[in-house]
Amino acid sequence: MAVVQFSEEKLNKVKEIIARYPEGKQKSALIPVLHLAQEAFGGWLSAETMDYVATLLQLQSIEVYEVATFYSMFNLKPVGTYLFEVCQTGPCMVSGSDQIIDYIKNKLGIGVGETTADGLFTLKTVECLGACGYAPMMQLGKHYREHLTPAKVDEIIAECRSKANAN
């Protein structure tokens, strides 16, 4: 297991975040720093990562665990390189999200919450992401992919595969 340690750049970012709050209120930095940690350490939060964040912010580990387990964006187990988070709430459902989810399942041969054998893709269903007018949709990394159709899903999968091959 590699040592969990932020780069110099990320450590500066942590300092910058802590400076947003009054003296002694660095606990407020917890959620932003967990986002940074998830990004830096493989897209999920291991116990080691959470302990590291606790040390950085001078918190008890339990204070970090209880927050990490509350918020749905924090992944507590490893995920694929490309995480498809497909919205399934009412407005997306009336616009055909069920069919899109089924299409992705068949196309990738995985169920919801599963990762493809090559470790590239994970499918997750999520609740409303605030893109109801552009449904069906999914989040992929930092951005939204909207107005999904089977053809668009094919394009996205191909795009991810070619990115993975390039690396």
Partner: protein
């Protein structure tokens, strides 16, 4: 064309950036507020404007501001609620993405009025690309002397920070949002004390929605007296409506609160009618928490009056025959949509999003989801419908925060107005797996109200 106050300049190329925003009249309201009106003058204009919270509750903003405690030597905070998580709602996203300076200017004026020197924008974590846009706007404003120390030589200091959430609907509730901003789980607090007295880090805090704070800019520009000439009655000004579902033109529309629901759905200026020439079956006019209405009650009130896009008209008839304007998340369903399935997705949503503090909500939302699943998948019993009704009754009003009510209302309204669709599902377990109940009688004209006997 309806008059606009928030998005009137949204189409201008480059309006996202300071120079374009400024050269199109931007920061004029801030200048007026800081140099002419003063904090009390701003508060007066906001009170006069009749502005009501645009996040969903519709509470008068000026009144909320006037509650803020002002003990000596204690900092005050303004927190901008950009958590926008109510299904059907995506208006604040549009505002922040396209005219971020409108929000920054609104935050500056509002912080000035409240005497807050630090302001936090709490934005839902999934809007991961928007903080960059906001932070750029903040940097530009700071560079031009609208943020930082001694703003425009007035002696007023303000810093604005952007804080991302991490996926929790409950953090749109103001005390849960404050907890989250303090680095904790989003568990709503028991009130009182209200945030205006003890909020962020136990200091006096005002939490307002993005659209509410942006609306302060036109209010200061044109004055509260002029603002109330927009809209109708107690629904003053304009409102952003995010329209979605089975319509031709989903998107974010700014409406003056004086148009009918029918015009909003069918006119080309707005939703452009139902997609594929289908017929309208039902609509949730104000975000998933507000009662769903069948077509016939949506377009006309039970009294036979035209239903308008205002706080009062949408609520006309109470929950028996009305709904709410809520957050403006306008979800339209055509004749092919299944109310049971739609209600199930919302029940699943609230179960997923319950923070778990209060037993009625934590347990009840899960039970409602399970019972609805049984009905939807052909395993329901007739008694399940009454059971659902009973569960929602026991959640409503029995929780610390309004999420319990928000979970109960959609289920209650679905049963109230679409009971025969639920019964059809139970009575036809196999058929209901292959086809929908359809439009049925839900768009039929309502019987004319009979005058009460004298």
């Amino acid at each position: 064309m309806g008059r606009k106050l928030l998005l009137d300049k949204a189409h201008i190329e480059g309006i996202r950036y300071y120079d374009t925003y400024r050269s199109n009249g931007g920061y004029a309201a801030a200048e007026k507020a800081l140099k002419t009106l003063g904090p009390d003058g701003v508060l007066d204009e906001v009170k006069k404007s009749g502005l009501r919270g645009r996040g969903g509750a519709g509470f008068p903003t000026g009144l909320k501001w006037s509650f803020i405690a002002k003990p000596e030597g204690v900092p005050r905070y303004l927190v901008c609620n950009a958590d926008e998580s109510e299904p059907g709602t995506f208006k604040d996203r549009y505002l922040m993405e396209f005219i971020p300076h409108l929000l920054i200017e609104g935050l500056l004026i509002s912080s000035f009025a409240l005497g807050a020197n630090s302001c936090y924008i709490y934005i839902r974590g999934e809007y991961a690309w928007i903080p960059d846009i906001l932070e750029q706007a903040i940097a530009e404003a700071k560079n031009k002397g609208w943020l930082g120390k001694n703003i425009q030589g007035t002696g007023f200091d303000l810093e604005i920070y952007v804080q991302r959430g991490a996926g929790a609907y409950i953090c749109g509730e103001e005390t849960a949002l404050i907890e989250s901003l303090e680095g904790k789980r989003g568990n709503p607090r028991i009130k009182p004390p209200f945030p205006a007295v003890k909020g962020l880090w136990q200091s006096p805090t005002v939490v307002n929605n993005v659209e509410t704070l942006a609306a302060v800019v036109p209010i200061i520009n044109i004055g509260g007296d002029e603002y109330i000439k927009y809209g109708t009655g107690k629904s003053t000004g304009t409102k952003l409506i995010s329209a979605c579902g089975n319509i031709n033109k989903p998107g974010v529309y700014e409406i003056e609160m004086n148009i009918s629901v029918e015009e909003f759905i069918y006119s080309d200026e707005y939703c452009g009618g139902i997609k594929n020439n289908k017929r309208l079956k039902a609509c949730i006019p104000g975000g998933s928490s507000v009662p769903v209405l069948p077509a016939n009650l949506l377009l006309k009130t039970a009294k036979g009056e035209t239903r308008m896009m205002t706080y009062e008209s949408l609520a006309d008839g109470g929950f028996a025959t009305g709904s709410m304007l809520g957050s403006g998340g306008f979800i339209v369903m055509d004749e092919d949509q299944c109310i049971v399935r739609n209600t199930l997705t919302f029940a699943r949503f609230y179960h997923h999003e319950s923070c778990g503090q209060c037993s009625p909500c934590r347990e009840g939302t899960g039970w409602m989801k399970k019972v609805l699943q049984n009905i939807e998948y052909g395993k329901g019993k007739m008694s399940d419908i009454d059971l659902l009704w009973d569960i929602q009754r026991k959640i409503e009003g029995n929780t610390i925060c309004p999420l319990g009510d928000a979970a109960a209302w959609p289920v209650a309204a679905a049963i109230r107005h679409f009971r025969d669709e639920f019964e059809w599902h139970v009575a036809n377990p196999q058929e209901s797996q292959t086809r929908n109940f359809g439009l049925a009688h839900y768009a039929d004209p309502l019987p004319a109200p009979t005058p009460a006997a004298v």
